[in-house]
Amino acid sequence: MSIANLNGGQQLAVKYFIVAVVLFVAQILFGMLSGIQYLAPDFLQGVLSFNVTRTVHINAMIVWMLYGFIGSVYWLLEEESEIEVVGLKLGNLGFWVLTSAVAVVVLVFLFVQTGPGDDFTRWFVNEGREYIEAPRWADIGIVICMLIFFYNVAATFSKGKWSGIAGVLTLDLVALAGIYLAGMFYTTNISVDQYWWWWVIHLWVEATWEVLVACLMAWGLMKTLGVSRKIVTTWLYIEVALMFGSGILGIGHHYFWIGTPEYWFSIGGLFSALEPIPLVAMVVHAVYDSGVRHTKGNNNPALAWFITHAFGNFFGAGVWGFMHTLPQINLYTHGTQWSASHGHLAFFGAYATIIIAMFYIAAQYVRGQSSFGPALLGNGWKWKWALGLLNFGVVGMTVALLISGYEQSFIERAVGGSTWMGYFAAQIHPWFVQGMQWRMIFGLITSAGIVLLVWDLLTIGKHPAVEKSGQAQTAS
């Protein structure tokens, strides 16, 4: 590994990427533990009960994805602005502070787990609100580190060159960080609590994160395929208009049943139903550009993951989201395995994929290769199998969860009236249990994919195969 030929921003990006990969592995590990607990409820009960394993599973996911995004932005920052990162030292400090904070939070989740119903618990142990369980002190630490990151980005672009991508990215980061504040207060009123909680969750994944990855996609298509800047920039503006145009009010699909007034049925139903449009547009864009260039890029694994992102985003968020977004359907599917099915395909398809693409772009530079193509050792079998196993595994889990979800919405919700007994009637039904079993089988396939992915990232391009021209390369 020769980090020396990277620019300053890229060196910092690699640090973020390494932590991201570690947390990705942790996410899968704890996902497997949670999944096992569905089938063997006594497994680790009382030691690492389901609420602990699940909390680590989803928090590791949120954090590794944020690390992936931050790393990606640092990666392209100097190239895009054409100057060195402003305040890089501070940025490095921010990385270490954030990483220490994350480590402490994980240890507290694992070893302290819960606390009494007082303010100390919320400040230092667990906030007990899904996805943003991190205690308050950590929230504040995260905000400070995000400000440092934002300072690096904004100051660098201001001093260097502004581009369309730079502008969208900078404004999007303001929104992304600002929205996090909506989740940083306590209220006993659970309706108001969940109202703002959804600002963080929904306005992140269906608005600001989507725009962030649209920026990465724009940059990535220029990078891997050489699409012209004018085309990707215009396209990026179209994406932003469609995404924010539907996604901001699309938040209404979470305001059907939390106490909020009935008018959210129409607003949430209508605007969230439009959310798939920008995702279709992105598929068209990516596929068209690849087709025009006969998918001849200089980094095949990255390009493959960018394309997977376009499709994964469309299916996971667009199709799977649409399936349960109308109130008439959501009444029965709300809070069932349907949500889990959609959550898995959407987070993987939309976000894991594009960050993995960025990992591969970084790997190419770190290994100092002019291309990741046919010259890879074994024709690049590792990245191809990792891609295949991860996608097959997650799609399989998604379908298994959907089958359980159908069963649950019929038996618990429609027939059983959602009582305690109705809930368990659905949980012990063979169709539900089989779904859970298949989820574990595909979970194992996903796990195999991640092992291969990590192995590949550690080794790709280290020992290039003999070039087609026949001249031998010196092994590093």
Binding site: R54, T188, N189, V192, I238, I248, G335
Partner: protein, 199 residues
């Protein structure tokens, strides 16, 4: 060449569109938020005051709205003790903080949001599983304090872990659950069977 680009595919047109669309949508969201928040403040029609725990709470079909809505009835003080507005708020607040501190949402859904490993708690107070209204309070205390001994998991083998909930904490949690069951959730959960209304 650039003169050949029609206005609808020009960069500047879409840049302006993006800015305007985002701005308008955000302003509309703020306006809707300002309209919604008062309607879900504690003491509003949709989200009753905390002292509702002094009353009987039902969940009955409403012909006009075509789904079940919470119905606040006569006096039925929780644990037999009428609380003032402040006392009720303090108790429900403690209960909500216990649910956050013990990470209940790590297994359950509340108002349908959370995890799917255990039953939804939105109308847990009204669940027919608590035998009858007369036995309910004691059964809930026993369950929360000793979930392993009092498990009712209908052959799934899934039990709630012992979260070392004290009696005071259990009572506070029950107050929170009772208050939550009075929130108007637009008919979610649908077709729910209310305690003492079976058959």
């Amino acid at each position: 060449m650039s003169s050949n680009i029609p206005w609808w595919s020009s960069e500047i047109f879409w840049k302006k569109t993006a800015i305007w669309v985002t701005g308008v949508m955000f302003v509309v969201l703020i306006a809707l938020t300002l309209n919604t928040l008062p309607q879900i403040s504690v003491g509003s029609e949709r989200v009753p005051a905390y002292s509702v725990i002094n009353k009987h709470i039902g969940y009955e079909f409403n012909d006009e709205r075509n789904f079940q809505v919470p119905v606040i009835g006569g006096d039925a003080p929780l644990f037999g003790k009428v609380l003032s507005e402040e006392e009720a708020e303090a108790l429900v607040t403690h209960g909500k903080k216990v649910t956050q501190g013990r990470n209940c949402m790590g297994c359950h859904t509340l108002l349908g949001n959370g995890s799917y490993f255990a039953p939804d708690l939105t109308k847990a107070w009204l669940d027919p599983g608590w035998s009858s209204e007369g036995e309910r309070e004691q059964m809930m205390i026993d369950f929360l304090m000793h979930p392993q001994e009092n498990a009712r998991s209908f052959g799934s083998g899934r039990t709630m872990p012992d979260l070392h909930i004290s009696e005071d904490e259990a009572k506070a949690v029950i107050a929170f659950l009772k208050w939550m069951s009075s929130i108007d959730t637009n008919g979610f959960p649908y077709n729910f069977t209310v305690i003492d209304k079976e058959g």
